[in-house]
């Protein structure tokens, strides 16, 4: 379970995120969409405890991120947009370290399974510096899955992945959700979001334009009429003329 309450983030006079609240329950997948600079990455970074909020509260798996950071982080996996790896460590060594950090039991078995699942077997002993963008993304995903987190945050997770890896990632996300993990996916790929997510949040200029179950989004934007695509709803919600808090916020 991920809980965000009244999250504000400002940098000097710039407002990055302005008072958003939401919760993602076990088994739910929330799609976080919004134009560049909407506050998506800031929100994910704040939930994962990397940056402190100017105001607000976060909880992961029932643990407050500010007061019980370690317990909260143990439940969490964060895969950033363009993950940076330790350039000189091999794929296997990355997994070794993550296993030690999260105290994963039977880590070698799990690592082997993930490496095979993401087709990294041949690259197991290759140093990160020599991996392609897609391979690096796969390593980051393996590291994220290794400790079976209860909450997962993905920032543009499909970047650089080949079709087979995209299928593997999608399947694994669905499986994690079925097993009770709360997942947030930040992406510009509206088709992916519509395809995978049970819930949707549209952010724009740090404000929440919509939050609710995916099947309610068209009802919320009924004024558009008919069966509008998510793309049309997105454009409508983030247009300059519609900057007042949208439906569902």
């Amino acid at each position: 379970m991920i809980v965000v309450e009244d999250f504000h983030k400002t940098y000097g006079e710039t407002v990055a995120v302005s008072g958003i609240s939401f919760r993602v329950g076990p088994g739910e997948i929330l799609g976080l969409v919004g134009p560049n600079g909407a506050g998506k990455t800031t929100t994910l970074r704040a939930i994962s405890g990397i940056i402190p909020p100017t105001h607000g509260r976060f909880a992961v798996g029932g643990h407050d991120v500010a007061t019980a950071a370690i317990e909260a982080k143990r439940q969490l996996a964060y895969v950033p947009d363009d993950p940076k790896l330790f350039e000189m460590l091999t794929v296997a060594e990355h997994l070794q370290f993550v296993a030690a950090a999260y105290r994963v039991a039977d880590s070698s078995e799990k690592s082997a399974r993930l490496i095979e699942q993401f087709e990294l077997t041949e690259k197991e002993n290759t140093i990160a510096q020599e991996l392609s963008r897609g391979m690096r993304q796969k390593v980051a995903l393996c590291c994220a899955y290794l400790h079976s987190p209860k909450a997962m945050l993905f920032d543009e997770p499909l970047t650089g992945l080949d079709p087979r890896a995209i299928r593997t990632l999608k399947d694994s996300m669905m499986r994690q959700a079925e097993d009770g993990a709360a997942i947030i996916i930040s992406s510009h790929l509206l088709a992916l979001v519509e395809d995978m997510c049970s819930h949707l949040m549209i952010l724009d200029h740090g404000r929440k334009r919509f939050f609710g179950p995916m099947n309610e989004v068209r009802t919320a934007f009924a004024e558009l009429g008919g069966e509008k695509s998510l793309e049309e709803i997105f454009f409508h919600a983030t247009e300059r003329d519609n900057l007042a808090d949208g439906p569902g916020s």
Binding site: R45, S48, G49, I50, I51, P52, A69, I70, K73, R74, L76, A77, Y78, P80, P83, K84, L85, F86, E87, M88, L89, T90, E93, Q96, F97, V98, A100, A101, Y102, I127, A128, Q129, E130, A140, C143
Partner: protein, 545 residues
């Protein structure tokens, strides 16, 4: 205090560094690089170190005791001068991505950072103490002293970053200014006092007077311990006593850092991102643009477009525009290098012959060692753009000319400015240097041509990391080849010039003209070789990681 997995990470990274070092020694390139490095150490450094161990120190311990605290003060003050609340403690981008969202306390991350820093400092201290062995009474004292000094400087830097993260930005800026003002007043007062009371203006006498003034004693008190450790003449009680005291001071700083427990993560994320972007730019070869980047939103004046010149014009224009963006910082650094080089000249200004000799030697070394590395506005800066270059409808020869034009012009301009500076000091231009001005452009074409030829044959990134063994070997190899090529070209030019001299009835003019034409011809003769190497370059396999 530290999570076991962080210790494991340090172990893994240390092992990876050794592995990379050994990997760099594999294959023909690796073996050649290793031979060059071993040869360099055997011929260049080993005798210096051996003599240093066997002979007595060439610098008196009192001199070291005088200079070291002052140097530390200068470094700490300059660090404080550039300290900003947003500077943060830089972590590697991978550390940000893996450790910051990981199950670690902030103190554990700080302890990890400090341990990594101390390990790197140990290596640096061993190396520096060996280089400085001739100036040290005991190597062990030098090693311990340098280790404590370098650790102290870094710990102060971390403490300042944490204080900046703890207090509000305005309070930090005010506090910093107040502190610097106090230091400045003490410094001015102490120096004025020292200059007034010193028996002569010899720099060591002035420093000694400054140290004995109350302002000097006050300012240098925290650093004296380290100077005394570095210059310890006995193991017991000097090294043991002062070393232990220095260790205690550093331990106190470590404790302070851990107790501060400021939330440094956010500023570190920003600092790390900046560092990463800068490193990426350096890896792409555009070092000066990364250092001298302009503030966002500021408009740049554009250089006028060059003529087509068969396609060489636009290529050269692009490189010149890049060079222009980083010109300010580059010239500041060059100024400091020039100023540092001018010191020995000023000391020997009454000896014109020595001055010209030293200036010529310095110019040759500067042109062969520093400039080709600093002014890489050529193929080396285009390591990630080779595909784009190859897709252009421009002949390989034109591309080579376009790529070489900018470093050629910039290097020539810098060298001419240096020669002019020597002429100013000398109050006239000696004829040897006047001839050098004429020979500089073709010689530069040779030097930069050779650099680019080597790059296209054995592609590399300019900054491959500190454990990139092949990089060190490659640099030595390129240096040697440049020397050999220049020697060969000079030999041929002198031979042909000599023949012309005799054939024209002992005409010096004939000698100069034929020599110059020979150097030009041989330099231009390198262009087809570079063009061939460029055509052979396969971006899919030759682009380095």
């Amino acid at each position: 205090m530290m999570h076991p997995s962080l210790l494991k990470l340090i172990r893994l990274i240390s092992r990876a560094k050794v592995r990379r070092l050994l990997r760099g020694l594999r294959g023909v390139k690796g073996i050649v690089a290793a031979c060059f490095i071993c040869g360099f150490f055997a011929i260049g450094l080993a005798p210096v170190i051996a003599i240093g161990f066997l002979k007595e120190s060439i610098t008196s311990p009192e001199t070291i005791r005088s200079i070291a605290p002052l140097g530390m003060l200068a470094i700490c003050v300059s660090n404080l001068l550039v300290a900003k609340p947003e500077n943060g403690i830089p972590f590697l981008p991978a550390e940000v991505d893996f450790l910051f969202p990981g199950p670690f306390h902030r103190r554990e991350l700080l302890a990890y950072k400090i341990l990594g820093m101390l390990m790197a400092t140990t290596g640096a201290s061993i190396l520096f103490s060996l280089f400085l062995i001739a100036h040290l009474t005991h190597w062990l004292a030098g090693f311990v002293g340098l280790f404590l000094i370098l650790s102290f400087i870094q710990l102060v830097q971390v403490s300042v970053a944490l204080v900046a993260a703890t207090v509000a930005g305005r309070a930090f800026t005010r506090g910093r200014k107040l502190f610097l003002l106090v230091v400045g007043i003490c410094l001015v007062y102490g120096l004025a006092d020292a200059l007034a009371s010193a028996a002569n203006r010899d720099i060591l006498t002035v420093i000694a007077q400054f140290r004995s003034s109350w302002a000097g004693m006050f300012l240098l008190a925290p650093f004296e311990v380290f100077g005394r450790t570095l210059a310890a003449e006995t193991y017991v009680p000097e090294l043991l006593g002062w070393g232990s005291l220095g260790l205690l001071i550093n331990a106190g700083l470590v404790l302070l850092v851990l107790l501060l427990d400021a939330n440094f993560l956010e500023t570190s994320v920003v600092a790390s991102q900046k560092m990463y972007e800068r490193l990426q730019t350096i890896r792409r070869g555009t070092v000066w643009v990364s250092i001298g980047s302009s503030k966002p939103g500021r408009s740049h004046r554009r250089l006028p477009q060059l003529p087509w010149w068969g396609g060489a014009g636009p290529i050269a224009w692009r490189q010149m525009s890049t060079a222009r963006r980083g010109a300010r910082r580059m010239f500041v650094l060059l100024f400091f290098i020039g100023a540092a080089s001018a010191v020995p000249f000023m000391m020997r200004i009454d000896n014109p012959q020595a001055l010209v000799g030293a200036a010529s030697g310095m110019l040759v070394m500067f042109s062969l060692v520093f400039l080709p590395q600093m002014i890489a506005f050529d193929f080396r800066a285009d390591v990630d753009r080779m595909e784009t270059l190859k897709a252009l409808p421009i002949s390989s020869t034109a591309i080579v000319i376009g790529e070489l034009l900018t470093p050629l012009i910039v290097a020539t301009a810098i060298q001419i400015v240096l020669i002019a500076a020597v002429a100013l000091l000398q109050q006239g231009l000696p004829w040897e240097l006047l001839i050098a001005v004429v020979f500089i452009p073709p010689a530069n074409l040779l030097v930069f041509g050779m650099e680019n030829l080597m790059f296209l044959w054995y592609p590399y990134r300019q900054f491959g990391g500190f454990s990139d063994m092949q990089a060190y070997g490659r640099q030595m190899m390129i240096m040697l080849l440049k020397m050999l090529l220049l020697g060969l070209v000079a030999g041929i030019a002198i031979g042909l010039g000599g023949a012309a001299y005799w054939l024209a009835g002992r005409s010096t003019m004939a000698f100069a003209v034929v020599s110059w034409l020979s150097v030009c011809g041989l330099s231009i003769g390198l262009l087809p070789a570079i063009a061939h190497a460029y055509r052979q370059f396969d971006p899919s396999t030759d682009t380095p990681a």
